[in-house]
Amino acid sequence: MSTLANLWSLMRREVWESPFAFKWTPLGIGGLIILFTIVVLVLGSRFDAQMAFTVDAMRMFADMPPEQKRLLVSGALFASSNLVLQVMLLIILFYLAGSLYDDRKDRSILFWKSLPISDRVTVLSKLLTACIMVPALFLGAIILTHIVLLLIASSYALMAEINPLTHLWWPASLPRLWSVMALGLLVQALWLLPIYGWLLFCSSWAPRLPILIAIAIPAGLSIAQHSYSLISGFRLPELNLGLIMLKRLGSGVLPGNTTINLGNGLEELQFSEDLYLSFSGVLSHLLRPEMWIGLLIAAVLIFGAIFFRRRATDQ
Protein backbone atom coordinates (compact mmCIF):
# COMPACT_ATOMS: atom_id res chain seq x y z
CA MET A 1 0.00 0.00 0.00
CA SER A 2 2.71 2.45 0.96
CA THR A 3 4.66 1.43 -2.16
CA LEU A 4 1.68 2.50 -4.26
CA ALA A 5 1.44 5.80 -2.40
CA ASN A 6 5.17 6.34 -2.91
CA LEU A 7 4.88 5.53 -6.60
CA TRP A 8 2.10 8.06 -6.96
CA SER A 9 4.15 10.75 -5.18
CA LEU A 10 7.16 10.00 -7.36
CA MET A 11 5.07 10.20 -10.53
CA ARG A 12 3.72 13.60 -9.45
CA ARG A 13 7.34 14.58 -8.88
CA GLU A 14 8.06 13.82 -12.55
CA VAL A 15 5.24 16.12 -13.65
CA TRP A 16 6.55 18.85 -11.33
CA GLU A 17 9.95 18.48 -12.91
CA SER A 18 8.72 18.73 -16.52
CA PRO A 19 5.51 20.77 -16.48
CA PHE A 20 6.27 22.24 -19.91
CA ALA A 21 6.62 18.88 -21.66
CA PHE A 22 3.84 17.06 -19.82
CA LYS A 23 1.18 19.73 -19.27
CA TRP A 24 1.71 22.77 -21.48
CA THR A 25 2.80 20.94 -24.63
CA PRO A 26 -0.41 18.87 -25.05
CA LEU A 27 -2.55 21.89 -24.18
CA GLY A 28 -0.55 23.98 -26.62
CA ILE A 29 -0.97 21.50 -29.48
CA GLY A 30 -4.68 21.18 -28.69
CA GLY A 31 -4.86 24.97 -28.86
CA LEU A 32 -3.07 24.95 -32.21
CA ILE A 33 -5.55 22.44 -33.63
CA ILE A 34 -8.43 24.66 -32.48
CA LEU A 35 -6.73 27.76 -33.83
CA PHE A 36 -6.17 26.08 -37.18
CA THR A 37 -9.87 25.07 -37.29
CA ILE A 38 -10.96 28.63 -36.53
CA VAL A 39 -8.64 30.09 -39.19
CA VAL A 40 -10.05 27.69 -41.79
CA LEU A 41 -13.60 28.60 -40.78
CA VAL A 42 -12.87 32.32 -40.93
CA LEU A 43 -11.25 31.93 -44.36
CA GLY A 44 -14.25 29.90 -45.47
CA SER A 45 -16.64 32.64 -44.38
CA ARG A 46 -14.77 35.08 -46.67
CA PHE A 47 -15.72 32.98 -49.67
CA ASP A 48 -19.15 32.11 -48.40
CA ALA A 49 -20.27 35.46 -47.05
CA GLN A 50 -23.98 34.53 -46.91
CA MET A 51 -23.08 31.19 -45.28
CA ALA A 52 -25.36 29.53 -47.84
CA PHE A 53 -22.94 26.78 -48.78
CA THR A 54 -21.95 26.17 -45.20
CA VAL A 55 -25.57 25.84 -44.11
CA ASP A 56 -26.28 23.59 -47.07
CA ALA A 57 -23.35 21.36 -46.23
CA MET A 58 -24.50 21.12 -42.61
CA ARG A 59 -28.00 20.12 -43.71
CA MET A 60 -26.64 17.57 -46.15
CA PHE A 61 -24.59 16.13 -43.32
CA ALA A 62 -27.68 16.01 -41.10
CA ASP A 63 -29.51 13.99 -43.75
CA MET A 64 -26.84 11.31 -43.91
CA PRO A 65 -27.58 7.86 -42.48
CA PRO A 66 -26.59 7.52 -38.80
CA GLU A 67 -23.62 5.15 -39.38
CA GLN A 68 -22.16 7.57 -41.89
CA LYS A 69 -22.52 10.45 -39.44
CA ARG A 70 -20.85 8.41 -36.70
CA LEU A 71 -17.95 7.56 -38.99
CA LEU A 72 -17.48 11.19 -40.00
CA VAL A 73 -17.71 12.82 -36.56
CA SER A 74 -15.87 10.27 -34.47
CA GLY A 75 -13.36 9.67 -37.27
CA ALA A 76 -12.58 13.37 -37.53
CA LEU A 77 -12.15 13.68 -33.79
CA PHE A 78 -9.96 10.58 -33.66
CA ALA A 79 -7.77 11.86 -36.47
CA SER A 80 -7.49 15.33 -34.93
CA SER A 81 -5.59 13.81 -32.00
CA ASN A 82 -2.91 12.39 -34.29
CA LEU A 83 -0.49 15.30 -33.90
CA VAL A 84 -0.88 15.36 -30.10
CA LEU A 85 -0.04 11.67 -29.84
CA GLN A 86 2.94 11.80 -32.19
CA VAL A 87 4.43 14.62 -30.14
CA MET A 88 3.67 12.64 -26.98
CA LEU A 89 5.73 9.72 -28.25
CA LEU A 90 8.69 12.00 -28.93
CA ILE A 91 8.40 13.58 -25.49
CA ILE A 92 8.25 10.18 -23.80
CA LEU A 93 11.34 8.94 -25.65
CA PHE A 94 13.38 12.00 -24.63
CA TYR A 95 12.01 11.91 -21.09
CA LEU A 96 13.00 8.28 -20.58
CA ALA A 97 16.48 8.81 -21.98
CA GLY A 98 17.12 11.55 -19.41
CA SER A 99 15.13 10.12 -16.53
CA LEU A 100 17.93 8.24 -14.76
CA TYR A 101 20.70 10.46 -16.05
CA ASP A 102 19.80 14.08 -15.24
CA ASP A 103 19.92 13.67 -11.47
CA ARG A 104 23.30 11.96 -11.75
CA LYS A 105 24.56 14.92 -13.74
CA ASP A 106 23.30 17.68 -11.41
CA ARG A 107 24.11 15.55 -8.32
CA SER A 108 20.57 15.75 -6.95
CA ILE A 109 20.71 11.93 -6.96
CA LEU A 110 22.40 12.37 -3.57
CA PHE A 111 19.18 13.93 -2.29
CA TRP A 112 16.88 11.34 -3.88
CA LYS A 113 18.99 8.54 -2.50
CA SER A 114 18.73 10.05 0.98
CA LEU A 115 15.02 9.23 0.94
CA PRO A 116 13.84 5.79 2.07
CA ILE A 117 12.84 4.78 -1.47
CA SER A 118 14.32 1.71 -3.12
CA ASP A 119 15.95 2.00 -6.52
CA ARG A 120 13.38 -0.45 -7.84
CA VAL A 121 10.52 1.88 -6.95
CA THR A 122 12.42 4.85 -8.42
CA VAL A 123 12.94 3.14 -11.79
CA LEU A 124 9.35 1.86 -11.76
CA SER A 125 8.03 5.37 -11.13
CA LYS A 126 9.82 6.67 -14.24
CA LEU A 127 8.45 3.81 -16.32
CA LEU A 128 4.90 4.29 -15.05
CA THR A 129 5.15 8.02 -15.73
CA ALA A 130 5.95 7.18 -19.35
CA CYS A 131 3.30 4.45 -19.65
CA ILE A 132 0.40 5.94 -17.69
CA MET A 133 0.92 9.44 -16.33
CA VAL A 134 2.00 11.17 -19.55
CA PRO A 135 -0.60 9.40 -21.74
CA ALA A 136 -3.29 10.36 -19.20
CA LEU A 137 -2.27 14.03 -19.33
CA PHE A 138 -2.14 14.02 -23.13
CA LEU A 139 -5.50 12.27 -23.32
CA GLY A 140 -6.88 14.97 -21.02
CA ALA A 141 -5.73 17.63 -23.48
CA ILE A 142 -7.23 15.63 -26.38
CA ILE A 143 -10.58 15.43 -24.57
CA LEU A 144 -10.58 19.19 -24.03
CA THR A 145 -9.77 19.73 -27.71
CA HIS A 146 -12.58 17.39 -28.77
CA ILE A 147 -15.08 19.28 -26.63
CA VAL A 148 -14.02 22.68 -28.00
CA LEU A 149 -14.14 21.38 -31.60
CA LEU A 150 -17.64 20.00 -31.02
CA LEU A 151 -18.74 23.30 -29.47
CA ILE A 152 -17.52 25.16 -32.56
CA ALA A 153 -19.34 22.68 -34.80
CA SER A 154 -22.44 23.06 -32.64
CA SER A 155 -22.55 26.80 -33.20
CA TYR A 156 -22.56 26.13 -36.95
CA ALA A 157 -25.25 23.51 -36.50
CA LEU A 158 -27.42 25.99 -34.61
CA MET A 159 -26.88 28.45 -37.43
CA ALA A 160 -28.15 25.83 -39.89
CA GLU A 161 -31.03 25.06 -37.53
CA ILE A 162 -29.84 21.54 -36.90
CA ASN A 163 -29.98 19.99 -33.45
CA PRO A 164 -26.29 19.70 -32.45
CA LEU A 165 -27.04 17.09 -29.79
CA THR A 166 -28.58 14.52 -32.08
CA HIS A 167 -26.48 15.28 -35.13
CA LEU A 168 -23.04 15.94 -33.61
CA TRP A 169 -22.63 15.04 -29.95
CA TRP A 170 -24.51 11.77 -30.10
CA PRO A 171 -22.78 10.47 -33.29
CA ALA A 172 -19.43 11.45 -31.83
CA SER A 173 -19.91 8.56 -29.34
CA LEU A 174 -17.53 10.34 -27.00
CA PRO A 175 -17.41 7.85 -24.08
CA ARG A 176 -16.61 5.04 -26.48
CA LEU A 177 -14.10 7.11 -28.44
CA TRP A 178 -12.26 8.22 -25.32
CA SER A 179 -12.22 4.82 -23.65
CA VAL A 180 -10.94 3.14 -26.82
CA MET A 181 -8.22 5.77 -26.95
CA ALA A 182 -7.35 5.24 -23.28
CA LEU A 183 -7.13 1.49 -23.80
CA GLY A 184 -5.17 2.08 -26.99
CA LEU A 185 -2.67 4.23 -25.11
CA LEU A 186 -2.14 1.48 -22.55
CA VAL A 187 -1.71 -1.23 -25.19
CA GLN A 188 0.58 1.09 -27.12
CA ALA A 189 2.71 1.52 -23.97
CA LEU A 190 2.99 -2.26 -23.62
CA TRP A 191 3.85 -2.56 -27.30
CA LEU A 192 6.61 0.03 -26.94
CA LEU A 193 7.82 -1.28 -23.57
CA PRO A 194 11.03 -2.84 -24.99
CA ILE A 195 11.94 0.55 -26.49
CA TYR A 196 11.09 2.31 -23.23
CA GLY A 197 13.12 -0.29 -21.32
CA TRP A 198 16.10 0.20 -23.63
CA LEU A 199 16.05 3.98 -23.04
CA LEU A 200 15.78 3.53 -19.26
CA PHE A 201 18.62 1.04 -19.38
CA CYS A 202 20.90 3.44 -21.29
CA SER A 203 19.83 6.31 -19.06
CA SER A 204 20.89 4.49 -15.91
CA TRP A 205 24.52 3.87 -16.92
CA ALA A 206 25.44 6.25 -19.76
CA PRO A 207 28.32 8.50 -18.69
CA ARG A 208 26.92 11.25 -20.92
CA LEU A 209 24.40 11.92 -23.73
CA PRO A 210 22.15 8.90 -23.01
CA ILE A 211 19.83 9.59 -25.95
CA LEU A 212 22.72 9.49 -28.43
CA ILE A 213 24.08 6.31 -26.90
CA ALA A 214 20.62 4.75 -27.02
CA ILE A 215 20.40 5.55 -30.74
CA ALA A 216 24.04 4.88 -31.63
CA ILE A 217 24.19 1.30 -30.31
CA PRO A 218 21.31 -0.18 -32.37
CA ALA A 219 22.16 2.05 -35.35
CA GLY A 220 25.80 0.96 -35.22
CA LEU A 221 24.85 -2.70 -34.91
CA SER A 222 22.49 -2.61 -37.85
CA ILE A 223 24.97 -0.73 -40.02
CA ALA A 224 27.64 -3.30 -39.12
CA GLN A 225 25.22 -6.05 -40.01
CA HIS A 226 24.33 -4.32 -43.24
CA SER A 227 28.00 -3.89 -44.20
CA TYR A 228 28.60 -7.54 -43.49
CA SER A 229 25.80 -8.46 -45.85
CA LEU A 230 27.54 -6.39 -48.54
CA ILE A 231 30.68 -8.47 -48.14
CA SER A 232 28.81 -11.72 -48.03
CA GLY A 233 27.28 -11.31 -51.48
CA PHE A 234 24.29 -9.08 -50.73
CA ARG A 235 22.47 -11.64 -48.68
CA LEU A 236 20.64 -9.25 -46.34
CA PRO A 237 20.00 -10.89 -43.03
CA GLU A 238 16.37 -11.21 -42.10
CA LEU A 239 16.77 -9.84 -38.61
CA ASN A 240 18.10 -6.33 -38.36
CA LEU A 241 17.95 -4.74 -34.90
CA GLY A 242 17.71 -1.16 -36.10
CA LEU A 243 14.89 -1.96 -38.51
CA ILE A 244 13.03 -3.98 -35.88
CA MET A 245 13.18 -1.07 -33.45
CA LEU A 246 12.08 1.46 -36.06
CA LYS A 247 9.25 -0.77 -37.17
CA ARG A 248 8.05 -1.12 -33.62
CA LEU A 249 8.13 2.64 -33.10
CA GLY A 250 6.26 3.22 -36.35
CA SER A 251 3.51 0.71 -35.83
CA GLY A 252 1.00 0.68 -33.05
CA VAL A 253 -2.63 1.08 -32.26
CA LEU A 254 -3.11 4.84 -32.20
CA PRO A 255 -4.05 7.22 -35.02
CA GLY A 256 -1.09 7.58 -37.30
CA ASN A 257 0.20 4.23 -36.09
CA THR A 258 -2.82 2.08 -36.75
CA THR A 259 -1.85 -1.04 -38.61
CA ILE A 260 -4.44 -1.78 -41.25
CA ASN A 261 -4.48 -5.33 -42.47
CA LEU A 262 -4.56 -5.20 -46.26
CA GLY A 263 -4.57 -8.95 -46.69
CA ASN A 264 -7.36 -8.88 -49.25
CA GLY A 265 -6.08 -5.92 -51.21
CA LEU A 266 -7.00 -2.27 -51.09
CA GLU A 267 -10.28 -2.67 -52.98
CA GLU A 268 -11.83 -4.71 -50.24
CA LEU A 269 -10.85 -2.28 -47.48
CA GLN A 270 -14.04 -1.10 -45.88
CA PHE A 271 -13.85 2.27 -44.23
CA SER A 272 -15.81 1.69 -41.08
CA GLU A 273 -15.38 2.70 -37.51
CA ASP A 274 -14.18 -0.82 -36.72
CA LEU A 275 -10.85 0.26 -38.14
CA TYR A 276 -10.15 2.47 -35.17
CA LEU A 277 -13.06 2.44 -32.79
CA SER A 278 -13.18 -1.14 -31.59
CA PHE A 279 -12.03 -2.53 -28.27
CA SER A 280 -11.39 -5.95 -29.76
CA GLY A 281 -9.18 -4.44 -32.45
CA VAL A 282 -7.03 -2.84 -29.78
CA LEU A 283 -6.99 -5.91 -27.57
CA SER A 284 -6.07 -8.21 -30.45
CA HIS A 285 -2.57 -6.71 -30.25
CA LEU A 286 -2.18 -8.49 -26.93
CA LEU A 287 -2.46 -11.83 -28.73
CA ARG A 288 0.46 -11.21 -31.06
CA PRO A 289 3.63 -13.14 -30.23
CA GLU A 290 5.72 -10.03 -31.01
CA MET A 291 3.97 -8.31 -28.12
CA TRP A 292 5.05 -10.99 -25.63
CA ILE A 293 8.60 -11.27 -26.95
CA GLY A 294 8.82 -7.50 -26.56
CA LEU A 295 7.57 -7.64 -22.97
CA LEU A 296 10.17 -10.28 -22.15
CA ILE A 297 12.98 -8.13 -23.56
CA ALA A 298 11.56 -5.13 -21.70
CA ALA A 299 11.67 -7.02 -18.40
CA VAL A 300 15.37 -7.85 -18.86
CA LEU A 301 16.22 -4.25 -19.76
CA ILE A 302 14.29 -2.84 -16.80
CA PHE A 303 16.11 -5.21 -14.42
CA GLY A 304 19.33 -3.97 -15.97
CA ALA A 305 18.30 -0.36 -15.37
CA ILE A 306 17.59 -1.12 -11.69
CA PHE A 307 20.92 -2.93 -11.38
CA PHE A 308 22.88 0.11 -12.58
CA ARG A 309 20.71 2.54 -10.61
CA ARG A 310 21.72 0.76 -7.40
CA ARG A 311 25.36 1.53 -8.09
CA ALA A 312 24.80 5.03 -9.37
CA THR A 313 26.08 8.04 -7.46
CA ASP A 314 26.96 11.54 -8.51
CA GLN A 315 30.08 10.70 -10.52
Partner: protein, 284 residues
Protein backbone atom coordinates in the same frame (compact mmCIF):
# COMPACT_ATOMS: atom_id res chain seq x y z
CA UNK B 1 27.32 -0.53 23.93
CA UNK B 2 25.17 -0.56 20.84
CA UNK B 3 27.26 0.33 17.84
CA UNK B 4 25.48 2.49 15.27
CA UNK B 5 28.25 1.99 12.76
CA UNK B 6 30.46 -1.07 12.79
CA UNK B 7 33.13 -1.63 10.16
CA UNK B 8 35.74 -4.38 9.89
CA UNK B 9 38.41 -4.33 7.21
CA UNK B 10 36.48 -1.85 5.08
CA UNK B 11 38.15 -1.46 1.69
CA UNK B 12 37.46 0.33 -1.53
CA UNK B 13 39.87 0.75 -4.43
CA UNK B 14 39.73 2.80 -7.59
CA UNK B 15 42.22 1.03 -9.84
CA UNK B 16 45.60 1.23 -8.11
CA UNK B 17 44.43 3.79 -5.54
CA UNK B 18 43.18 2.46 -2.22
CA UNK B 19 40.64 5.05 -1.13
CA UNK B 20 39.88 2.90 1.92
CA UNK B 21 42.57 0.52 3.03
CA UNK B 22 41.10 -1.76 5.65
CA UNK B 23 39.30 0.39 8.20
CA UNK B 24 37.98 -0.86 11.55
CA UNK B 25 35.51 1.51 13.15
CA UNK B 26 32.91 1.40 15.93
CA UNK B 27 30.68 4.36 16.53
CA UNK B 28 28.25 4.00 19.44
CA UNK B 29 25.03 5.99 19.71
CA UNK B 30 24.89 9.40 21.36
CA UNK B 31 28.20 10.61 19.95
CA UNK B 32 29.27 13.43 17.70
CA UNK B 33 32.18 12.13 15.67
CA UNK B 34 34.47 14.30 13.62
CA UNK B 35 35.97 12.49 10.65
CA UNK B 36 38.96 14.60 9.76
CA UNK B 37 41.55 14.15 7.06
CA UNK B 38 43.36 15.90 4.24
CA UNK B 39 41.86 16.08 0.75
CA UNK B 40 41.63 12.68 -0.88
CA UNK B 41 42.14 10.82 2.40
CA UNK B 42 39.01 8.72 1.92
CA UNK B 43 36.50 10.62 4.07
CA UNK B 44 33.82 10.92 1.42
CA UNK B 45 34.43 7.36 0.24
CA UNK B 46 33.92 6.11 3.79
CA UNK B 47 30.72 8.12 4.18
CA UNK B 48 29.40 6.91 0.83
CA UNK B 49 29.94 3.32 1.91
CA UNK B 50 28.15 4.00 5.21
CA UNK B 51 25.21 5.57 3.36
CA UNK B 52 24.88 2.72 0.86
CA UNK B 53 25.91 4.93 -2.04
CA UNK B 54 28.86 2.86 -3.16
CA UNK B 55 30.10 -0.68 -3.08
CA UNK B 56 32.90 -1.83 -0.78
CA UNK B 57 34.79 -4.87 0.41
CA UNK B 58 34.88 -5.95 4.02
CA UNK B 59 32.25 -5.94 6.72
CA UNK B 60 30.02 -2.97 7.36
CA UNK B 61 26.83 -2.66 9.31
CA UNK B 62 24.92 0.54 10.01
CA UNK B 63 22.04 0.30 12.50
CA UNK B 64 22.32 -3.45 12.00
CA UNK B 65 21.68 -3.18 8.24
CA UNK B 66 23.89 -3.77 5.22
CA UNK B 67 23.98 -0.31 3.57
CA UNK B 68 24.79 -1.54 0.07
CA UNK B 69 21.76 -3.82 -0.05
CA UNK B 70 19.26 -2.22 2.32
CA UNK B 71 19.70 1.48 1.57
CA UNK B 72 15.98 2.22 1.37
CA UNK B 73 15.35 0.67 4.77
CA UNK B 74 18.40 2.35 6.24
CA UNK B 75 17.32 5.79 5.07
CA UNK B 76 14.29 5.67 7.35
CA UNK B 77 16.70 6.27 10.24
CA UNK B 78 19.63 7.95 8.56
CA UNK B 79 19.90 11.46 7.10
CA UNK B 80 22.72 13.04 5.24
CA UNK B 81 23.82 16.32 3.75
CA UNK B 82 26.54 16.02 1.12
CA UNK B 83 29.32 18.49 0.60
CA UNK B 84 27.43 20.49 -2.02
CA UNK B 85 23.89 21.67 -2.33
CA UNK B 86 22.22 18.70 -3.98
CA UNK B 87 18.57 19.68 -3.77
CA UNK B 88 16.96 19.44 -7.23
CA UNK B 89 17.25 22.87 -8.80
CA UNK B 90 13.96 22.72 -10.69
CA UNK B 91 11.82 22.17 -7.59
CA UNK B 92 10.00 24.76 -5.53
CA UNK B 93 10.48 24.86 -1.77
CA UNK B 94 6.93 23.74 -1.00
CA UNK B 95 7.22 20.88 -3.51
CA UNK B 96 10.33 19.52 -1.90
CA UNK B 97 8.72 19.74 1.56
CA UNK B 98 5.62 17.99 0.21
CA UNK B 99 7.66 15.22 -1.37
CA UNK B 100 9.77 14.63 1.72
CA UNK B 101 6.62 14.49 3.82
CA UNK B 102 5.03 11.93 1.52
CA UNK B 103 8.12 9.79 1.07
CA UNK B 104 9.67 9.91 4.53
CA UNK B 105 7.69 8.34 7.39
CA UNK B 106 9.76 10.10 10.08
CA UNK B 107 9.47 13.62 8.66
CA UNK B 108 7.61 16.36 10.53
CA UNK B 109 6.34 19.18 8.33
CA UNK B 110 5.68 21.30 11.43
CA UNK B 111 9.28 21.05 12.56
CA UNK B 112 10.55 21.86 9.10
CA UNK B 113 8.36 24.97 8.76
CA UNK B 114 9.46 26.01 12.23
CA UNK B 115 13.11 25.95 11.17
CA UNK B 116 12.32 27.76 7.94
CA UNK B 117 10.53 30.58 9.80
CA UNK B 118 13.91 31.79 10.96
CA UNK B 119 15.11 32.14 7.35
CA UNK B 120 14.19 34.29 4.37
CA UNK B 121 13.21 31.24 2.28
CA UNK B 122 9.72 31.55 0.78
CA UNK B 123 7.68 28.39 0.07
CA UNK B 124 6.96 29.47 -3.51
CA UNK B 125 10.62 30.08 -4.34
CA UNK B 126 12.40 27.85 -6.82
CA UNK B 127 15.55 26.24 -5.44
CA UNK B 128 17.39 27.49 -8.53
CA UNK B 129 16.85 31.07 -7.36
CA UNK B 130 18.06 30.55 -3.77
CA UNK B 131 21.56 31.51 -2.71
CA UNK B 132 23.95 28.75 -1.72
CA UNK B 133 23.51 29.55 1.95
CA UNK B 134 19.73 29.40 1.64
CA UNK B 135 19.86 26.01 -0.08
CA UNK B 136 21.94 24.67 2.80
CA UNK B 137 19.49 26.22 5.27
CA UNK B 138 16.61 24.53 3.47
CA UNK B 139 18.39 21.20 3.34
CA UNK B 140 19.24 21.44 7.00
CA UNK B 141 15.63 22.31 7.89
CA UNK B 142 14.47 19.24 5.95
CA UNK B 143 17.01 16.98 7.60
CA UNK B 144 16.53 18.27 11.14
CA UNK B 145 12.79 17.70 10.79
CA UNK B 146 13.45 14.00 10.25
CA UNK B 147 13.51 11.93 13.40
CA UNK B 148 16.64 9.96 12.52
CA UNK B 149 19.15 8.04 14.58
CA UNK B 150 22.18 8.85 12.49
CA UNK B 151 22.95 12.15 10.80
CA UNK B 152 25.88 12.31 8.38
CA UNK B 153 27.22 15.72 7.40
CA UNK B 154 29.86 15.87 4.68
CA UNK B 155 31.34 19.39 4.67
CA UNK B 156 27.93 20.87 5.51
CA UNK B 157 29.10 24.47 5.83
CA UNK B 158 31.40 24.70 2.84
CA UNK B 159 31.27 28.18 1.32
CA UNK B 160 29.04 29.68 3.99
CA UNK B 161 29.77 32.77 6.05
CA UNK B 162 30.94 32.54 9.63
CA UNK B 163 27.68 33.78 11.18
CA UNK B 164 25.76 31.08 9.44
CA UNK B 165 28.29 28.41 10.39
CA UNK B 166 28.09 29.36 14.06
CA UNK B 167 24.30 29.24 14.02
CA UNK B 168 24.35 25.96 12.14
CA UNK B 169 26.39 24.17 14.78
CA UNK B 170 24.55 25.71 17.70
CA UNK B 171 21.20 24.63 16.18
CA UNK B 172 22.56 21.18 15.67
CA UNK B 173 23.77 20.88 19.23
CA UNK B 174 20.88 22.56 21.02
CA UNK B 175 17.84 21.60 18.98
CA UNK B 176 18.74 18.31 17.39
CA UNK B 177 21.32 16.30 19.24
CA UNK B 178 20.50 13.91 22.13
CA UNK B 179 21.73 10.57 23.49
CA UNK B 180 19.58 8.64 21.04
CA UNK B 181 21.24 10.26 18.08
CA UNK B 182 24.63 10.07 16.48
CA UNK B 183 26.19 12.66 14.24
CA UNK B 184 29.18 12.11 11.95
CA UNK B 185 30.76 15.26 10.55
CA UNK B 186 33.57 15.75 8.07
CA UNK B 187 34.95 19.22 7.65
CA UNK B 188 38.13 21.15 7.00
CA UNK B 189 37.11 23.84 9.45
CA UNK B 190 38.14 21.83 12.50
CA UNK B 191 38.27 24.80 14.88
CA UNK B 192 34.54 25.27 14.45
CA UNK B 193 33.50 21.74 15.36
CA UNK B 194 36.16 21.10 17.97
CA UNK B 195 34.01 22.12 20.94
CA UNK B 196 31.01 20.01 19.93
CA UNK B 197 32.79 16.76 19.11
CA UNK B 198 32.77 13.83 21.52
CA UNK B 199 35.01 11.66 19.35
CA UNK B 200 37.74 12.31 16.86
CA UNK B 201 38.76 10.13 13.91
CA UNK B 202 41.74 11.05 11.74
CA UNK B 203 42.00 9.40 8.36
CA UNK B 204 44.94 9.53 5.96
CA UNK B 205 45.56 7.57 2.76
CA UNK B 206 42.58 5.36 3.47
CA UNK B 207 43.74 4.37 6.95
CA UNK B 208 42.78 5.50 10.43
CA UNK B 209 45.51 7.47 12.15
CA UNK B 210 43.55 8.29 15.28
CA UNK B 211 40.24 7.07 16.66
CA UNK B 212 39.50 8.13 20.21
CA UNK B 213 37.13 10.08 22.43
CA UNK B 214 37.97 13.70 23.10
CA UNK B 215 38.60 12.95 26.81
CA UNK B 216 41.08 10.25 25.94
CA UNK B 217 42.78 12.56 23.49
CA UNK B 218 43.06 15.30 26.10
CA UNK B 219 44.60 12.76 28.49
CA UNK B 220 46.99 11.49 25.92
CA UNK B 221 48.42 14.47 24.06
CA UNK B 222 50.16 17.43 25.59
CA UNK B 223 51.82 20.46 24.07
CA UNK B 224 54.57 22.34 25.74
CA UNK B 225 55.94 25.77 24.88
CA UNK B 226 59.68 25.62 25.51
CA UNK B 227 62.20 28.40 26.03
CA UNK B 228 64.94 28.36 23.39
CA UNK B 229 67.67 27.28 25.82
CA UNK B 230 65.77 24.13 26.81
CA UNK B 231 64.81 22.98 23.32
CA UNK B 232 67.48 20.29 23.15
CA UNK B 233 66.32 18.82 26.46
CA UNK B 234 62.74 18.72 25.24
CA UNK B 235 63.68 17.18 21.89
CA UNK B 236 65.34 14.34 23.77
CA UNK B 237 61.87 13.27 25.02
CA UNK B 238 60.85 12.26 21.46
CA UNK B 239 58.13 14.77 20.54
CA UNK B 240 55.68 13.95 17.75
CA UNK B 241 55.98 17.36 16.20
CA UNK B 242 57.68 20.67 16.66
CA UNK B 243 56.77 24.15 15.47
CA UNK B 244 58.07 27.63 16.15
CA UNK B 245 55.83 30.54 17.14
CA UNK B 246 57.23 34.00 17.98
CA UNK B 247 60.62 32.51 18.73
CA UNK B 248 59.15 29.93 21.11
CA UNK B 249 59.30 26.24 20.28
CA UNK B 250 56.07 24.32 20.68
CA UNK B 251 56.43 20.56 20.94
CA UNK B 252 53.68 17.95 20.86
CA UNK B 253 54.02 14.80 22.96
CA UNK B 254 52.13 11.51 23.08
CA UNK B 255 51.62 10.27 26.68
CA UNK B 256 54.50 12.25 28.18
CA UNK B 257 55.76 12.54 31.73
CA UNK B 258 53.92 15.73 32.60
CA UNK B 259 56.05 16.70 35.56
CA UNK B 260 59.15 16.59 33.46
CA UNK B 261 57.49 18.65 30.75
CA UNK B 262 56.24 21.21 33.23
CA UNK B 263 59.83 21.93 34.20
CA UNK B 264 60.61 22.74 30.57
CA UNK B 265 57.89 25.26 29.91
CA UNK B 266 54.22 26.07 29.75
CA UNK B 267 51.90 23.09 29.23
CA UNK B 268 48.87 23.32 26.87
CA UNK B 269 46.11 21.13 25.69
CA UNK B 270 46.68 20.87 21.92
CA UNK B 271 43.86 22.00 19.65
CA UNK B 272 42.46 19.59 17.04
CA UNK B 273 44.15 21.61 14.33
CA UNK B 274 47.54 21.28 16.08
CA UNK B 275 46.98 17.57 16.56
CA UNK B 276 46.05 17.25 12.91
CA UNK B 277 49.26 18.90 11.81
CA UNK B 278 51.29 16.92 14.36
CA UNK B 279 49.87 13.53 13.42
CA UNK B 280 49.42 13.99 9.68
CA UNK B 281 52.64 15.89 9.03
CA UNK B 282 53.03 19.39 7.62
CA UNK B 283 53.17 18.19 4.07
CA UNK B 284 49.93 16.24 4.23
Amino acid sequence: MNAIIKARGLRRSFGQVHALDGIDLDIPSGRIVGLIGPNGAGKTTALKAILGLSSYQGELSVLGLDPARQRDQLMQDVCFIADVAVLPRWARVHQIIDLTERLHPNFSRKQCLHYLEATRIRPQARIRTLSKGMVVQLHLALVMAIDARLLVLDEPTLGLDILFRKRFYSNLLNEYFDEERTIVITTHQVEEVEHILTDLVFIKDGQLVLNQSMEAIHERYTEVMVRPDQVEQARALAPLHERVLFGRHILLFDEPDREKLASLGEIHRPSVADLFVGLMGDNA
